[in-house]
Point group: C2
Chain length 156, copies 2
DNA sequence: TGATTATACTTGAGCGGTCAACAATCTAGC
DNA sequence: GCTAGATTGTTGACCGCTCAAGTATAATCA
């Protein structure tokens, strides 16, 4: 039943639809798990991970937004939650009063470590169960050609 | 800047992150266009398309939900909008009073035809600009191995 | 220096979706 | 035929995010 639909509408369409379906399904799966066992959204996790690799475990909010592909306001809202939970804090920028840094707290680091273990294991399991290393490289390479930021190229 | 990050965290992770980023970016692009030029959500479009290939341009709401990977209530809400806009109507099931069919109206058919042309063209453009037919087949094949319904396999 | 424009962030309104609870109906088993 | 359970669809409460507008600060340039 999985591939009977959408015959010969062109391979582009087929790929696009599978992409959407796969995202919906996989995301729902992993997100539910992450939420249940750690109380984190996929984006929450992503943000913590990004912060952890910033200098001194911090990043400008704008930079963060760009990295995880959220709006400025989206970031504000998301960080609201993580701040309330005590996982990230704020730091002012000495040279530019407009920017505030989001920095991982110790609890945040701890939370990330704890959730990483199970979450990354799930991701690995789900993927390596279905693909060989070789195929994963192919997949990553192909996906990497798609636009990866809000507007970007896409000349029209 | 696109692929410098996330080195050697394992190819699974790399693929997963690219998948998420690509989805966020591409989806935002296409969805914005579709919304602006036709006032439809990606899911709206998907639903119209699914209905158009149902028998007599109709489907049970449950069936529809399953096809587009939405919740039952998600479908209710989405169809609310399409009904208000006059693109779909309801029909009762003679043999089971619980189910109601969602059926494409003539306006709905028209809307789908109109929006298909530009939307599908955008999808094709975006993809065929970056991939060969061969690569698209690979991509589709690989994506097709991922879970494609809510819970599904994923034995754990 | 002072006006103009650009950037960083926040806020209110709203949208699209989920989940949990519910009402209605169908189906099985006794 | 009746009760017990499953299935279909809707609703209320809420969540995560966007967009548009607003505030505050920086940068540009006359």
């Amino acid at each position: 039943m999985s591939s009977q639909v959408i015959k010969e509408r062109g391979i582009e369409l087929e790929a696009w639809i599978r992409f959407l379906r796969a995202h919906a399904a996989v995301t729902r799966l992993l997100s539910a798990e992450l939420l249940e066992t750690h109380g984190l959204t996929l984006n929450d996790f992503d943000v913590l991970a990004q912060l952890s690799r910033g200098p001194d475990h911090g990043l400008k909010r704008a930079e963060l937004a760009e990295r995880v592909l959220l709006t400025a306001s989206g970031i504000t809202r998301l960080l609201d939650g993580l701040e309330r939970a005590g996982y990230v804090g704020r730091a002012e920028c000495p040279t530019d009063a407009r920017v505030t840094y989001a920095v991982l707290t110790d609890e945040g680091r701890e939370k990330l470590r704890g959730s990483s273990r199970t979450h990354l294991a799930s991701v690995r399991a789900l993927l390596s169960e279905r693909f060989t290393k070789r195929e994963l490289q192919q997949l990553a390479e192909l996906l990497g050609r798609l636009p990866m930021r809000g507007d970007a190229d896409c000349a029209d």
